[in-house]
């Protein structure tokens, strides 16, 4: 058995052609995560390029309105490029550079990971190619143009369901074609080992900052942490530092689409079953013969039929809870947060906001809820308008 298991989940289920590349990555990551020079360079970039630490903002008006727990937002939306994705991308691009790679490739769903990868490639002078489902390209045109502005080449993926899962397939295929000079910047806590561990480590800065900021602002740890989960990188980043604090509830909010009792859903924890796909053993939306289901969510970033293996393990052990949030609930939360706090969240993050709206009123006023605002919503404005029956040009 390979390394990189979380309970029964994880592993390295990839073609032989990629094995040496993945093992080389594993070794390089093991080395550089302990290398003070590498860590100093990464911290420098996170502070001076991304703008970390990101704010932990007390949403006073929303807390008053919901009349329950105090709600704090971890403002990953204020990062350079507009989401948490940049934390992981800077780490991987720096690592790829140290490994002598000159080209990076990546999948993207909503486009945020693609934009972050294109940004890091521009900064570090690397060639960059992004694979994006044709359907997502149509949903997220602005982000496509943004990636091209940054010097990346964007490939439309027309196989399968033409969304995030197919973009991952195509990026893996491209990696088997050309692996010697190329690093695959995987965007979430998924795929073969070491990606789930490495991406979680690069994102865990979110939770470490929350702990410190919470102790400064409230003098204690929060009662619950909320984050949206597609593959699960912003959630793992927020949760990781608190796994050993059993009194802190960890809640992942997955995309239910039109509802978990319909076929148009992407809620893997609620509707999926164990499987082995995209390099990992975990939970997947699939039929009884193991054919991966064509999932659906209004959010291109959560429109994925699997979930990272560490989340699968947190669910198995009962350490984290996972709740489904529908399109309707997410869109309402998107509008609510815009009006109530003057913050337009990414539609992905709006799934966690929707969950907070339900949870906060049931909690005491002395309790504290932290919601990861993983990205900003500018990219979603036109799609939400369409959802509400209004046609506006992007």
């Amino acid at each position: 058995m390979s390394d990189g298991y979380f309970g029964i989940h994880g592993g390295q289920y990839i073609p032989e052609t990629l094995m040496n590349a993945v093992l080389e990555l594993e070794q390089a990551y093991d080395h550089y995560k302990r290398d003070p020079g590498f860590q100093a360079e990464l911290t420098g970039l996170l502070n001076n390029y991304t703008g970390r630490p990101s704010l932990l903002y007390f949403a006073e008006k929303m807390s008053r309105d919901l009349n329950g727990a105090k709600i704090y937002f971890k403002r990953e939306d204020l990062n350079h490029t507009g989401s948490h994705k940049i934390n992981n991308v800077l780490g991987q691009a720096l690592l790829a550079k140290r490994m002598g790679k000159t080209r990076v490739i990546a999948e993207t769903g909503a486009g945020q990971h693609g934009v972050a990868t294109a940004t890091a490639a521009a900064l570090m002078g690397m060639a960059c190619e992004i694979f994006m489902g044709k359907e997502d390209i149509d949903r997220q045109r602005l982000n496509v143009y943004r990636m091209e502005l940054l010097g990346a080449q964007v490939h439309a993926v027309t196989s399968g369901t033409r969304t995030l899962k197919d973009a991952v397939n195509e990026t893996m295929r491209e990696w088997t074609r050309r692996v010697a000079d190329t690093h695959y910047v995987l965007g979430s806590v998924m795929g073969p080992h070491p990606f789930p561990t490495m991406v979680r480590d690069f994102q865990s800065v979110i939770g470490r900052e929350v702990r410190q900021q919470m102790l400064q602002q409230e003098g204690r740890l929060p009662d619950a942490l909320l984050a949206c989960v597609g593959g699960g990188s912003n959630a793992m980043g927020l949760f990781y530092d608190f796994i050993a604090e059993p009194e802190v509830r960890l809640i992942g909010c997955e995309a239910a689409g039109r509802g978990i009792d319909t076929a148009e859903t992407a809620a893997t924890m609620a509707t999926g079953s164990p499987g082995i796909f995209h390099g990992m053993k975990s939970y997947f939306c699939q039929d009884r013969y193991g054919q991966i289901a064509p999932v659906y969510s209004i959010s291109a970033g959560l429109d994925y039929p699997g979930v990272g293996p560490e989340h699968a393990h947190l669910r198995d052990t009962g350490r984290a809870e996972y709740v489904p949030v529908t399109d309707d609930q997410a869109v309402e939360a998107f509008e609510y947060l815009s009006r109530t706090e003057g913050i337009i969240p990414a539609i992905e993050s709006a799934h966690a906001v929707a969950c907070a709206r339900k949870l906060a009123p049931a909690m005491g006023k002395d309790q504290i809820l932290v919601v990861n605002l993983s990205g900003r919503g500018d990219k979603d404005v036109a799609a939400i308008a369409r959802y509400r029956g209004e046609q506006i040009d992007e």
Partner: protein, 256 residues
């Protein structure tokens, strides 16, 4: 002599691949029987998967056609049972881990034994994860085929050491599909395997012409051809059988 040894006992082996259920299981059954009659030494049957990450566009499309036609693992087992009534040519399943795992790995291998599938090739299970399959393969007498790739380098020793039946040598980088040029590394790859173990080596990925097949057969024990056959099936649909058989005969002549 087990059935896989039989595949490599009649000179160089020719190993055609088709996706089961493309365009229908009835056609797959005919193709398998007639390719066997034409002298194919081992037939690879692909169990279609929604997301075949090691395949190029040609076999991806075949997977989609087969699934759209309602092909399932159970129906494929039933078809193999029918093939086995009149043909003893060795058969291997080629599929991905998820269809096997979701079916139940033990139940899958038990069914292979029951209907007479001799081997499985699972491209997303590398050496490190073979424990997922190997115990069940051993229990039900199904040979787990190992793959080596142009990037395997020092891993070849380890992979060959544990290999059974034959070794599937991936000729070049990337996914399946017809190629103009086959990499020259594959000959060296086979030499490395043979240093460790005297086991047949069959080469696949990219081979389509009799000239290429002849050249590969110079140093390999077998030649695997998939995309070129699947292309003929895509072109002729339900009436593809005679066209495929003619192509396969030509390839067998080139290899032997």
């Amino acid at each position: 002599m087990n059935k896989l040894q039989q595949s490599f006992s009649n000179g160089k082996a020719f190993i055609p691949f088709i996706t089961a259920g493309d365009p229908s299981l009835e056609v797959t059954e005919q193709l398998a029987l007639q390719m066997a009659a034409a002298g194919a030494d081992l037939i690879e049957l692909g169990i279609p998967f929604s997301d075949p990450i090691a395949e190029g566009p040609v076999i991806q499309a075949a997977n989609n056609r087969a699934l759209a036609a309602g092909t399932t693992t159970d129906k494929i087992f039933a078809m193999v049972g029918r093939i086995r009534k009149s043909s003893r040519t060795p058969l291997a399943f080629m599929t991905y881990m998820n269809p096997i795992f979701t079916y139940g790995t033990e139940k899958f291998m038990q069914s292979c034994q029951k209907v007479g599938v001799d081997a499985v090739i699972v491209p997303d299970v590398p050496y490190e994860e073979r424990a997922e399959l190997a115990p069940y393969c051993a229990k039900y007498g199904v040979t787990l085929i190992s793959m080596v790739a142009p990037t395997s380098n020092h891993r070849i020793r380890m992979i060959a050491g544990a290999a059974q039946g034959f070794i599937y040598c991936v000729s070049s980088m990337g996914v399946t599909g017809v190629r103009q040029e086959i990499g020259s590394d594959v000959e060296q790859m086979i030499e490395l395997v043979k240093e460790v173990k005297d086991i047949p080596c069959a080469v696949g990925f990219g081979i389509s012409t009799p000239e290429q097949a002849k050249e590969i057969a110079r140093f390999a024990d077998g030649v695997i051809v998939g995309s070129a056959i699947v292309k003929i099936i895509a072109q002729h649909g339900a009436s593809c059988v005679p066209y495929v058989v003619k192509y396969v005969q030509g390839m067998i002549n080139a290899v032997k």
